[in-house]
Subunit: 359 residues, 2 copies
């Protein structure tokens, strides 16, 4: 088990801001534990009243690895990332008489880590928590950065907060039970990181196949840690998404608009969103045709969709409610080349105008 | 209209901590506007997409004073301080296409200010808000300090956060429609402030009657500003309730346990809670019999109850879930004399043992 403080993982010599609001853990205090085994987690939590929060599938598949703490589980799937699930978890916490000294341990994919973080933000006005991501997507993206929340109907993550966990705990052995569809799901965010931040990673992804990563534990652990480092380096300098962090929304504006509308996986939605963003980048002449083509091909190579038959009017209706909208503009992420992205405010009418051509 | 920054109202020469997490307004940036008129509020919000959040009674009585902004209202009463009300407000915000640039203006009593603050904390992961308290209780206590949230069944404020509004806006003319029961309700918190912090205020309250305050606008505005200053001075040095702020929970441990159990007003519950805390303070020999008697008499003088016939077993069950419980102890607020309080951790078993004698 290797412990790395977030500021070290970001390559910073010291903690950025030692002053912080108590009970709201500062991002640089976040610890990453790589190469760990779930059984070791008790060492990090001596004497704490730990409660595991998970979903029913993870509970079924991994509970034999869980340490001996009470478990709260809820039905699996994005359709349960709703306030009603949060309400149920809170009722169960009350049933367990969980006080401010409790510690919530979220074990699962992005839905579990989002729900756990959100419950920890509001239960008793805030309690401590840690996360054990069990999917590629949660390991490289969803569990990192403190964003949490629930959907409201078709609107993704419309309610939530930003609150950092005490730690992120990586046990790669859990990936052995991960279905292929979940590998594909996670690689959408890996490709996103490569597109906006890391041309070398992009080249690596072009060199290998999904099968290679599935077969080679050291290749995949290296990939996960590389991607955790990319996400962490962005979050640590811009936790509240006032600048740099916006770039991580590449593919997510159109992606979020279609995800719940079509009830497709997050990775599929983001992949289609990235393709649309590439098309728009090309249209605005910020991205060269050949680079856009390389991205589309890489997505396809990892079995990700790059197009969808949809009702553009309904997509636009959901897109209007995007959290990135300020007045009548959406902060859209465009690419200038592979490895380099920028935020461009685009009037919603212009977006509506182009929607049929890019999606 | 007088504007006072929170750090000035606290008598501090400068802002305490200029570094802050963006999108989470620091407590010292909070502005108080006293002696204001609701019509003037538009001056503070030029160009903002303001949405008023209020309850049906306030909407009925004061909407003629409201500036011309869209209004979201919900049924009045503590029984509606529940997640379902938050869910409804959020759905209406979506209906209004409220983006991150919106500004929520909560106009009402403590339930409205709590719901508004909570919605502002979680909607789109946080939007700006301001509060216009319309009851004595909200003006002297509930609206100040950033604590927000909802009840979960009988458990008071079990879910919520701490987030400061941009401003607090005091229009004393709204008090003309306030029923006597609401005056009584508010004076419970005024007496609490006197008990824990201000012996001179206590003496003033002994000199006057509720009727005096109701009849004399300058007397009541002076009282409100004095109490806002007391609450603010505590919050500004201990926003997250790690020390000093705990004292404000005087009367609230037993008070919260009986409030929703008996469906009595917050002021009545806190008054009974303060009487119980005085009894316990006497029992532990921290408070002299004569001082305890003066407090009981003052509560009665302001038409507040000091006793209740209750099921002590059920009270204890609710009390066990108190947010101030850490492991097996509740941080109980005891008095040493009028104007001076302290935090004393009391084992829950000991509290259970004494409950019948103090309540």
């Amino acid at each position: 088990m290797r412990q790395i403080k977030a500021y070290e993982l970001a390559g910073l010599p010291v903690q950025l801001n030692p002053e912080h609001i108590p009970e709201r853990p500062p991002v640089q205090d976040l610890c990453f534990y790589f190469d760990a085994e779930l059984a070791q987690i008790t060492e990090l939590l001596p004497g704490k009243k730990v409660i595991i929060i998970t979903d029913e599938i993870v509970n079924q598949q991994l509970s034999h690895k869980f340490p001996d703490y009470p478990v709260i589980s809820f039905p699996s799937g994005e359709e349960h990332k709703q306030q009603s699930t949060v309400d149920q978890v809170i009722k169960k916490l009350i049933g367990l008489e969980a006080g401010r000294d409790c510690f919530l341990l979220g074990i699962g994919g992005g839905v579990v880590t989002d729900i756990t973080g959100y419950v920890a933000s509001v239960y008793l006005r805030g309690v401590s928590f840690g996360l054990v991501p069990t999917t590629i997507l949660a390991m490289v993206d969803a569990a990192i950065g403190g964003k949490n929340g629930v959907d409201v109907g078709v609107y993704k993550n419309l309610v939530g907060s930003i609150r950092q966990p005490s730690f992120l705990f990586y046990d790669y052995s859990v990936l052995s039970t991960l279905p292929v569809s979940e590998w594909v799901n996670g690689f959408a965010e890996v490709i996103k990181h490569a597109c906006i931040k890391d041309a070398l990673l992009f080249a690596e992804l072009e060199r290998y196949t999904l099968h290679d990563y599935q077969q080679d534990p050291s290749l995949v652990s290296d990939l996960i840690e590389k991607n955790a480092a990319i996400k962490n380096s962005v979050v640590i300098v811009d936790e509240m998404e006032n600048g740099e962090r916006k770039l991580l929304n590449f593919g997510h504006t159109v992606g979020h608009a279609i995800e719940n509308l079509h009830q497709i996986s997050h990775g599929h939605a983001v992949s289609i969103g990235m393709a649309a963003a590439c098309n728009l980048s090309e249209k605005f002449s910020t991205l060269h045709f050949e680079e856009a083509s390389r991205i589309i091909r890489l997505l396809a190579r990892y079995h990700l969709p790059v197009d969808i038959e949809t009702d553009h009017t309904r997509v636009f209706e959901v897109l209007r409610m995007d959290k990135k909208r300020i007045r009548n503009e959406v902060n859209f992420i465009l690419l200038s080349r592979i490895g380099s992205a920028s935020v461009t405010p685009i009037p919603v009418e212009l977006l509506q105008h182009h929607l049929k051509e890019i999606l």
